[in-house]
Symmetry: C2
Subunit: 343 residues, 2 copies
Amino acid sequence: MSNTNISKSDFSSIRGEIEKLNTDRVLIIADHNVWSKYSKLLNLEDISNKETIIYKAPDGEKAKNLQEYESCVEFLLEKGVHRKTHVLAVGGGALSDFAGFVASTLLRGLDWSVIPTTLLSMVDASIGGKVALNSKEAKNLIGAFHKPKNIWIIEGFLETLAEEEQSSGLGEVSKYCFLDKEIFELVQDKNHQISDVIEACANFKYNLTEKDFKESGLRKNLNLGHSFGHAIEKIYNLPHGIAVFWGMALIFKLYCNGNYLKELSLVREKLELDANDSPWHNREFPIMKIMNLISKDKKMVTSTSLELVLIEDIGMPTIKITSLDEIEELLEEKKDELRQFSI
Amino acid sequence: MSNTNISKSDFSSIRGEIEKLNTDRVLIIADHNVWSKYSKLLNLEDISNKETIIYKAPDGEKAKNLQEYESCVEFLLEKGVHRKTHVLAVGGGALSDFAGFVASTLLRGLDWSVIPTTLLSMVDASIGGKVALNSKEAKNLIGAFHKPKNIWIIEGFLETLAEEEQSSGLGEVSKYCFLDKEIFELVQDKNHQISDVIEACANFKYNLTEKDFKESGLRKNLNLGHSFGHAIEKIYNLPHGIAVFWGMALIFKLYCNGNYLKELSLVREKLELDANDSPWHNREFPIMKIMNLISKDKKMVTSTSLELVLIEDIGMPTIKITSLDEIEELLEEKKDELRQFSI
């Protein structure tokens, strides 16, 4: 499988990158909000040597369902698609999940590229080729592995990013701090530039996914904070990265004897991450809802057991195989502490 | 990517094969007609060490659409799916296309196996990992490459096969006769056994797809007869293999100076293939309909050109890149001959 080119670009040069693609047909799948704000600046219509088709998808997770998938696929096929057609995703992580799944299934797989427009997608979602839709049961249960050919990072998008989106991206950055000691140290440096952090996270994830494309080993480490995180995200309707932050806090609290919580708090401070107080603070910890969602999580390895990512030290993740019963027991045991838990 | 085990089995031993699968959960996706006739004989329910979930799909191409896909995927996810869940397809080629696409997209890819129940799927459709759904535009435009772990051939299914299904399988066998000289000669032998022909075709296709899994070269040869065939199938509502037979006849007529038509007729006789007179015989050849369908065919390599498979000799296929305009011109030129054309 060929590699992904990850490179910096800007609003004035991205058109040139698209012109260079080896195809006569580009299907742009764009978040409709992003497209209405940025289409003029991107200037990707009427490229001389290509036919450009544009499909505007609903924003965020609203695109990631089978009805929207069908509508997009039928629209594009009706416009005409051939094997060398190139799909271009323009949007955040949900959009690139959606567009990547469309690309992976149209004619059994078209080449595709991404222009990520949020911090979260620059450091995480657009990298590594995991693409997916949500099912009625849970997130990302329908999907594929399909690597993009190019990821063009345009930092200009961050200038107008909504605060919530900013927090979501920083939440995911906080995860990388515990997977890689260099990123942890970079973030501690009070003069750190966000562009350096983006680059470090993107490269870290890219290298990991290159070594383990189908997630049979190393790549699983990227799920740190995600087993609880996905459940928390659904229950409290939180931005993904914030949910991951609290999912990671739960892992440190429950499985690492409370170690690394101080460092997590430090990372939050350095990143200026707006995530004070756990979402369930001073309310009952929602054990049954969490167990119900975790049991439907795709990281389940049999009907009763699953793999949790813990850390042995900063930069040293490890996998623990545990059962649903064991998790539930632990949560019941720590119920009162969790009610008060915050960092 | 791991290999596919293709082996003969029978109604009494297939249960033992399923018991040996390394999983605690088997999702059986079966053609509802096949299941009502054969479920007792197959005896796959209540296997001691596994939970078995059964989804009955509509017969044939009726399963291969996004509504049915959604209904199947949501049904299975609601019952519970984990990464080691094994999907078992029981049915003809359309069913294995459908079930294979479900397997390829559930949790980004589950292991799967096939029990093909028609001649066509034994010699062709179940082999090689091409799985797909139909779009409103044309057949198989939504799909993936996802190889099954096992294909278990149970010849007992052929005893009750509908005549039309039989013809469809034999039509596809006739294609192999022109791709491989040994198969051509095997079929000429008046004492040939159908089981030997099935084995030879299955192995021929398997070896080709192993060499070229993603259809970048050699595998394209398997499309002999299919560019016109898919259009003919749709226009006249014909069984797939019969449409391929006439698609191949058109290729020999239009692009091989009428060579091999005598051999094609001989193959038809030896296989006792019920395909006399072309479907448009003595009527106008439907040039516009054919061109319209071909232009939407996924084998298009740019918006105006496509790859046709011709043969230079029996067992020696070759690719010709041609344009839609050239094809249309040729059909217009031969219009009157085509009206009368039969073999």
